[in-house]
Symmetry: C2
Subunit: 230 residues, 2 copies
């Protein structure tokens, strides 16, 4: 069995669990839930040894392959699942279409999804029990929102060129849009990117989307949608 370290609050993890479902690999992957205190934004939190052994970055997702390789970023994990276990069903092995799809992955992941998690970490600096609320930077949050806006506009230009029903690029986009609605409902991304909004309205009905809705990191592992042992 492969092992995937997970929390329902992470859209980077969601990209991977959606990829697993779209490729029909649920029986091959053990899902291991993790819990995170709100101090993660500015502190090294205590890690269980198996987790930090799977990912020295100590971020989720982390995938441990059957032959012991440790992959610790969502794009590499999704490429591995697609290329090695998924017969390239969500992205071809070569050619222009591969790079078109990976270009969408790059904008949605390094653009929007990273922006969302860095904004979340910044916002946690001013949480109620924060010891240092003066460390919060409104400028940094504006910078992240500006970046997100630019990236949604570019994805809006790209949507009409999509030829497949689902691929690694669209899975990254679905995770990004889902996180916007979950964590930042005040962002009017649909006005910035109406073609993405129309695309999302259909894409979100896929079982892989409906079965991986984001939620707050649970304090009780029994409440996750995935059991601890697959």
């Amino acid at each position: 069995m492969l092992k995937l370290y997970h929390t329902v609050a992470s859209h980077f993890v969601r990209k991977c669990t959606m990829t697993i479902k779209e490729l029909g690999l649920e029986d091959r992957v053990e899902i291991i839930t993790t819990k995170w205190p709100h101090s993660w934004g500015t502190e090294t939190v205590p890690f269980l040894p198996d987790f930090v052994d799977a990912s020295p970055i100590a971020r989720i997702p982390a995938l441990v392959t059957e032959d012991g390789l440790r992959l610790c970023d969502s794009s590499t994990i999704c490429e591995y699942l697609n290329d090695e276990l998924g017969n390239f069903a969500l992205c071809p092995q070569s050619g222009r279409e591969r790079w078109q799809i990976l270009s969408v992955v790059s904008v949605a992941t390094s653009g929007i999804m990273e922006t969302q998690v860095m904004r979340r970490a910044e916002n946690l600096r001013k949480r109620e029990d924060s010891p240092n609320p003066q460390e919060f930077s409104a400028g940094f949050v504006r910078k992240m929102k500006d970046r997100q806006t630019r990236c949604y506009k570019v994805l809006n230009e790209l949507v009409p060129s999509f030829t497949r029903e689902v691929d690694l690029g669209q899975l990254a986009m679905g995770s990004a849009c889902g996180m916007s609605d979950f964590r930042y409902p005040e962002d009017d991304w649909r006005a910035i990117a109406p073609d993405v909004a129309r695309w999302y309205d259909k894409f979100r009905r896929r079982p892989s989307m409906r079965e991986t809705e984001p939620g707050e990191t649970p304090t009780d592992p029994d409440k996750t949608t995935w059991p601890r042992n697959g």
Copy 2:
């Protein structure tokens, strides 16, 4: 011609320029220098239209391919150069070795290199002309250093398994080690990772390393090691 947006201060760019040199692609890529004010850590800085058109994330590196695709993160750019233009000379197209190499890329890039740039952005909050020095978080810098330490330890375990003289993983590692020495000479990473130190002492002598030494982002584009038009 491909276009690569560049600054000498970025180790993410260095990973790409080293890949270009190792693959002998210098004549195929136009290098376009960019300049950055120190306010980039917490502000959206003004961008030239061609740059933000190449990368909606507005980060460097950004690569525009000959057929107009925009790739805007260093790992995707290096994979594109290797796969499409480099005949897989720095990473095979499939099999365990591919994922071993991409696993090293992932730890060096998402672990150490991202850590270094986020620590730089945090340190810029307390620069001399900062309007908001109270926004600096010493805890966040400690978190980044802890992450870097864990990642150097894991790379140290991996060095003995390297079988090639150079590959995409080692290029990412070289960029990471070079940035540690350039920006954070007080970090004693060689004590944490003595096998990486021994590997680096040899690897840094490669022409691709010597010709891409990091420097501060120039205020005068004539002082860069790359001319504006290739």
